[in-house]
Every structure is written in C-alpha cells, then in structure tokens.
C-alpha cells in the first residue's frame, strides 16, 4: 500500500477528517441538535412529523425491572431488533430473525436463549454502548423485511443506503452490503462493502471493501456493477426532509428499503464518515462548495433533490 500526495487529493476534492470537523460539522451542526440524532428514540419522534417512516417500535426498556416485560412481549414474535438508543456505528444492535423452539436465532445464525438477550438489555441500560458510557435506553423494533432485489446482494445482514445530506441537499450516496467479514453488519470499517451510487439515477458506480476496489461480492459472488435502487427520487426526498426535522446542516441519513413499507429511516448520523468518497470514487468537496456558493437555497425538499440530481450526477 503506497501513499498519495496531498496535492492529488486536493485535486480530487477529497474531504478529510480535520476539514470535515472544522469547516462542516462544527459550522453547520448545532450542538443542541445532537441529542436528536444521537438518540434513536428521539430521532424516531422528530422525523415522524415530517413524513419520514421508521421501523415499528415494539417496546422501550428504560429500567432494569422492565426487562421482565421483554420476555412476555417477545413471546410470540418471529423477528425483531434490539438497539441501544444512544449507540453509534451499529454497536450493540442485536437482530433476531427467527425462533427455534425456546431459543432465538440471531442474524448470524447463532442460537441464543432469552437470558442472553436479557443480559444484552442490561448492558445497554448500563450504558455499555452509549457514546460517553452514560445510562441508556433499549428499544425493540420490528424486523425490517428487506426488499428481495437488494437483499440478494448482501450476506445475511440488511443492506442500507447512506446518503450525506448537506443543508438539505443530498450530495452523495452509497449502498452498504454486509459481508461475512463484517459479521452481517453494514459497517464499512468492519469489512462491509460500500457501493457508490449516482445521485442522479441511483445506479451503482464503484464498490470498495476495506478501502480497496472490488467488482464482485466476496460471499454472494454477484456483480456489483449494475445495481439500481428503485424509487430513488422518493428516497432522496425522504433524506432531504430529515434536514427540516433536525436542523443539522451536515449529516448522514441511513435508509433501508422494506419489502412492505418502502424506504425506512434507520438512523441519522451527525458525524458521517469519509469512506463514502472512496465508494463513489469522487471527493465531496466540489459538491459541498457548490451548495455553499448557492445564493438562494431551494426551499422545499423536492426542489433541493431535483437540483442535486441534476447537478451532482456530473460533478
């Protein structure tokens, strides 16, 4: 692995971490809005008013003694996901896909008893997965039934779509596919595949795993070149509406496509990563600067999406 000169990176318009933090996150993201995105429960409530759908909330576990109710609630459920409300980067998320007698089957295929899940809830409440180790709340959501067109590309986990939204404009997007290496999680630095998406059309551009270009999914063996996201414009508009809901100028919006419900919001991220640039093979800076230079920002999400689709398919 070699090195690349800073000049070439500047030419490519690559956004780096220091610049993202100083020039975008701290300039466009109000500190007071952070709890809204760092807490999945608050996010759910905030976006629901803006016609952004999220997976159905089954239960909220706030106190240790409420864990006993979890057993009753989960009794007759086939699949669900347990998430820490303040977790970040997919930490502490346990996905149960089915039942095998008394035991629950995790997405990875492992079978666990209900007491393991209860222990997991305890850990979440104690703040093991929350950002600063503060006490947390566990939420139980219904399982997303991934639309089969996308699900076939992913190994076990649900593929999700990350869209970076800057001042309400979707500027860059990628599809994240779980792999064996990522343990069924759509987390890029754990080895998930990132597939860059053309903002104008929703077609795939490039794909990377561990920052290196790939053309085939290592586990499913499917070619990653001709993926096309359905209902692309609607997804972009949904992401764009999150700007109105939270007021965050620079954020990452994570969406999934449910077979029955359509696009659902999984979570928002006030500090979206930089790997999306590698998946797209393009730098973020030209697009961010284009929007910063706009004298009259568009008012409605639909107008913003239209502008972004027109402009950024070329940039």
């Amino acid at each position: 692995m070699g090195w690349i000169s800073p000049r070439r990176l500047t030419k490519l318009g690559m956004l780096n971490m220091n610049r993202r933090n100083v020039d975008y996150i701290s300039r466009y993201n109000e500190r007071s809005s952070y709890p809204l995105v760092d807490n999945k429960l608050k996010t759910k409530l905030a976006v629901s008013e803006y016609d952004v759908k999220t997976p159905k909330l089954l239960q909220v576990v706030r106190q240790q003694h409420e864990i006993s109710h979890f057993r009753e609630m989960a009794e007759d459920l086939e699949g669900f996901a347990i998430k820490p409300a303040k977790g970040s980067g997919g930490k502490g998320i346990t996905v149960v896909t089915g039942r095998d007698g008394d035991e629950y089957v995790k997405a990875s295929g492992a079978r666990v008893s209900v007491s393991v899940l209860e222990r997991h809830l305890t850990n979440i409440l104690a703040g093991l997965y929350s950002l600063a180790g503060t006490p947390d709340v566990a939420i139980v959501e219904s399982l997303v039934q991934c639309s089969p067109t996308l699900a076939k590309y992913s190994f076990e986990g649900v593929p999700d779509i990350r869209i970076v939204v800057f001042r309400g404009y979707p500027v860059m997007a990628m599809l994240r596919l779980a792999t064996k290496a990522s343990d069924g999680k759509a987390n890029l630095h754990q080895g998930a595949i990132g597939v860059g998406l053309n903002i104008g059309t929703g077609h795939s551009l490039n794909a990377v795993q561990f920052n290196r270009p790939v053309t085939l999914h290592p586990d499913t063996g499917l070619a990653l070149e001709n993926i096309r996201i359905e209902d692309w414009q609607a997804m972009l508009e949904m992401a764009s509406r999150c700007y109105e809901a939270t007021g965050l100028g620079y954020m990452g919006v994570d969406l999934v496509v449910d077979a029955n419900e359509g696009p659902l919001l999984l979570e928002l991220n006030a500090r979206p990563g930089l790997a999306i640039q590698m998946a797209n093979g393009r730098g973020l800076l030209p697009r961010l600067k284009d929007i910063e230079a706009l004298k009259l920002p568009h008012f409605s999400p639909a107008e913003r999406v239209e502008y972004a689709m027109k402009t950024f398919s070329k940039l």
């Binding site: 780096n16 220091n18 754990q190 270009p213």
Partner: protein
C-alpha cells in the same frame, strides 16, 4: 468560523506566542534564569576579618564595605560577631559596616562575609558627576620636582588618561631620576600620585582592590589609582600604569577615605580570605529574584511539596500538545483521548522500560480476568468496580513478586492510575469482542506509541527545566494547540487511507 473572522484569531494566537517568548526572554535577561539546566555560575565568597585589642571601654568598629564594585554584583552579606551590635550604614555615598559593644577587653575578631557574582559582560563603573580636584600644596624643594615631573609627563601626553599613564611611569619607586627619588619612597607612591594629579587639576583618588584567588587567606588590599575623566572614574594600576580594572580584581574601597575606623581599640587590622564557589545559575537567579520582587512570576516561592506537584502538572500541557499533534496531524488512533498522557505521566515516575513492562502485564492479566467477569453477567458499574479491585490486586501482586525477585522497579506499578487502567481494560475487552483483536492491537499500539512520545518529550531534562522555570512558555504551547485546532489539511494517515483514490484521478 467564517473566513473573515479568522484574522483576529491568528493575531491573537500570534500575540499569545509572542507574549510567552518575550516574557521568557525578559526573565532570562533580567533575572538570569538560565535556559539550560546544569548551568553553574562562579561566586566569590569573601570574608573580611577585623582584629583589634579592646581597651576595656565601649568600642565602635567601622569597616568600609563595597557598594557597586565594577564587574561584580553583591549576592549576600552577613556579619559574624558574637556579642556585638551590627548595622550597615549608608552615609554620603559610602557603605560601612558598624559593630558596637559596650565593654570590650582583650583580642577581638569580627567577621564580615559577602558573596560576589562576577558580572558578564564586565561592566564599567557607573557614570558620575565630575568632582573638583583637591587643592594640594607642596613645599620646596618638592614643589619644583613635582612641577618638573608634571611638565615632562604633560609633554608626552594629550589627555588626562595618557597624562596619568606617563606620570605613573615616571613616578616609580625604582626610577633613578633625581626628581623622583626626592619624592618617592616605597610606601607613599600611590598617595603621591594622587596628590600630584590633583595638583595638575585632574580629579583623582585612591582605591583598594582585592586580588581574587581561590582559597587565599590573610590577604591584604592592594592600592589602586582612580581619576575622573568627566564621565566616570577610571582605574589605573599604579605599578604598571595599565588602565582598567584587571580581571578577578574586586575594588573593595572606592571613593571613601578610610577603610577601617576603630574607636575604643588598638592594633586594628583587616585581612581578607576568599573562596571560589559555584552555584547553580538557577539557584542564583532564585536568590536574586527573591530580593527584587520579581519572584511572583515563579513557583520557587511555594512550599517544596507544592513545587513538586507543579513540576508534574506543568508537564501535562506538553503531553497534551503531543497528543494533539499525533491525532490531528499524524492521525494515530488511540483508545481514549488523553489516556496516553496519563500513561506517560506514570512512565515519568516509573521510567520507560519498567513502566512498559508493568503496564502491559497489568493490562494482559486484566484482560484475562475480564473474560471471566463478562460471563458473570454483571451490571456495568459493578463490573468496572470489580475490575478496579482486580487491578489493585494485580498491581499489588506484581509489586510483591517483583520485590521478591529483586526488582525494586516492580514497585513502580503503583504509579499507574488504577481507575484509568480499569477503564482501559474494559474498553479493550469490549473492542475485542466487537471489532476483533486487530482493532485492539491498532488502538493499543497507537496509545502506547503516543504515550511513549509524550513520555520522551516530558522526560527530557530540558523540558522539565523550561516548563517549570519558564511557566510563561505554556502560552506558546497553548498557541500551538489553538493553531492545530484550525488545521484542516490532510492527516498523514489519510494520505495512506485515501491512496486507492489514485485510480480515479
């Protein structure tokens, strides 16, 4: 922050850095706080000893002491004289030490001790107003001899300085000219020169100097000649005619008439002993600053215990600077932002290798035990608490084993902050479960590398010296950290991370 509002920020940072450096330089120049640690400065300890015979009545001994001897600064003064009242008097431009006692009989010895610091560069005596020459009167035949000698000297000279030099050359005790032999005898020739110069209209006076040589005892003062050139007093060696105060010559008496006055005593004499000492330049600066009130700016006034604490505290900014640099510019990932600084502080107390061994063994054993704890299904807080206790057991065990095996360094484990160790183990353990051993290794190594760099920076004797003695330099550190907070360029690690982007160029 927008582009326009950055200018005042940079000006502010620049001011901070400039203020820090300027204060440090000023303190170095004015107070002599040394830049380097081991700087030594020579100090002359001179002891004047006054002996006299008491006459059985009240005695008053009055010794001239130097005020501003050219080329030296007075550091300390003290008198040792049991039973005597002592005071330093300043009268009409001359300083005198005065001992008094009601009833004095028999041989008496009084001591006056002073420490002198040679000044570098050598300074001339201060400006002073020109005094009028004294009127001198000579009888015949000396009067004619004096006039002739002066005429001769005047002929070969052009200025008061050169006249003095010529006159000294002419009036030497061993000169064989008739005029000279008439006037000069062995013990009066300095006095004679003084009188002749005053007669010639040049303000002149005598002075007494002390030749400084290490460990000399019972030394006497050597007379010197001084003339005033309109600006300041110039010193001449009456034996060679050389101008200027020779090196290692301390002018004990200048200007005043008598060296020693004794009332109520007989057979009085003064003799001098001297000793060359070396003091650390730092101690010297401290002693002097204590005198002139600048000490407020230093920590030397605090009790020793607090000083030790501040020594440690003042190293922290340096560690923070290293961490900021490593994370912002280099891009090394560490577990916990300032955990490396705390480890580095512990390393400072344990020294590097024993510290590393101790740290790694505690973490390794802790991770093993944590594996068991996680199967107990405990609440987080009690798990951490249990881990803290385990960490204490581990450190105690390591200390005892180390001690039994003869390594005193085993004891140093106790310097590590226990809570930090416990948290580190907990974090590493979760990292291991969630992201695999590889991530634990990356972050662990990152933290250790940063800690080692921070340790190396903080342990440098230069760093310890500068941070403690020039606390204002922390403004510079602050400025640098603020500047780094504005760095939006690529990290070194990103040049590697983004390398595959070459394909799209």
């Amino acid at each position: 922050m927008t582009a326009q509002s950055k200018a005042p920020f940079y000006v502010f940072v620049l001011l901070l850095i400039a203020a820090g450096i300027a204060t440090a330089v000023w303190r170095h120049l004015e107070l002599g706080v040394p830049w380097k640690t081991g700087e030594q400065q020579p100090v002359w300890m001179i002891e004047a000893r006054v002996d006299f015979e008491g006459l059985g009545e009240a005695a008053k001994v009055n010794l001239h002491i130097p005020e501003n001897p050219p080329g030296f600064r007075i550091l300390t003064e003290q008198a040792a004289s049991p039973g005597y009242g002592f005071a330093i008097l300043e009268e009409s431009g001359s300083r005198r030490a005065e001992w008094t006692k009601r009833n004095v009989t028999g041989t008496q010895t009084l001591y006056f001790k002073a420490q002198f610091v040679p000044e570098d560069p050598f300074t001339e005596s201060e400006h002073s107003a020109q005094p009028d020459p004294r009127n001198e009167f000579w009888e015949e035949p000396q009067s004619t001899a004096v006039r002739e000698l002066l005429d001769k000297a005047r002929e070969r000279s052009s200025s008061p300085e050169s006249l003095t030099r010529e006159l000294i050359r002419l009036v030497q005790p061993d000169a064989s000219t008739q005029n000279t032999t008439l006037l000069v005898s062995e013990d009066n020739h300095v006095k004679l020169l003084d009188r002749m110069l005053n007669y010639a209209g040049i303000a002149a006076r005598t002075a007494d100097g002390l030749q400084l040589e290490d460990a000399r005892r019972r030394q006497q003062l050597v007379p010197f000649l001084q003339i005033h050139n309109g600006e300041r007093w110039l010193t001449f060696d009456p034996r060679t005619g050389e101008q200027g105060v020779p090196e290692n010559l301390l002018l004990w008496r200048q200007g005043s008439e008598s060296l020693l006055d004794v009332v109520g005593g007989d057979d009085s004499e003064v003799s001098f002993s001297m000793l060359r000492q070396t003091l650390p330049a730092l101690q010297l600066a401290t002693m002097e600053s204590n005198k002139n009130g600048f000490s407020v700016l230093g920590f030397h006034q605090l009790p020793i215990e607090e000083q030790g604490m501040f020594r440690m505290l003042l190293l922290l900014p340096l560690g923070a600077l290293i961490v900021a640099f490593m994370r912002i510019v280099i891009g090394i990932r560490t577990s916990g932002t300032f955990m490396p600084v705390l480890i580095a502080i512990a390393f400072v107390q344990t020294t590097l290798v024993p510290g590393l061994v101790a740290f790694l063994s505690v973490i390794a054993i802790g991770l093993l035990l944590r594996g068991y704890l996680s199967s107990l299904n405990l609440l987080l807080v009690s798990r951490i608490s249990a881990l803290i206790i385990l960490v204490i057991f581990i450190t105690a065990g390591l200390s005892i084993i180390g001690y039994q095996m003869g390594f005193n360094t085993g004891m140093t484990v106790t310097f590590f902050p226990m809570v930090i160790l416990a948290w580190t183990i907990e974090r590493m353990s979760i990292l291991w479960e969630e992201e695999g051993a590889r991530e634990v290794f990356t972050q662990g190594t990152g933290s250790l590398v940063v800690a080692i760099f921070a340790y190396l920076a903080m342990d440098a004797p230069m760093a310890r010296h500068l941070t403690f003695n020039f606390p204002e330099l922390h403004l510079v550190v602050l400025g640098l950290i603020l500047l780094m907070g504005q760095y939006t360029g690529y990290k070194l690690s990103e040049l590697r991370r983004f390398n595959p982007m070459k394909a799209y160029d």
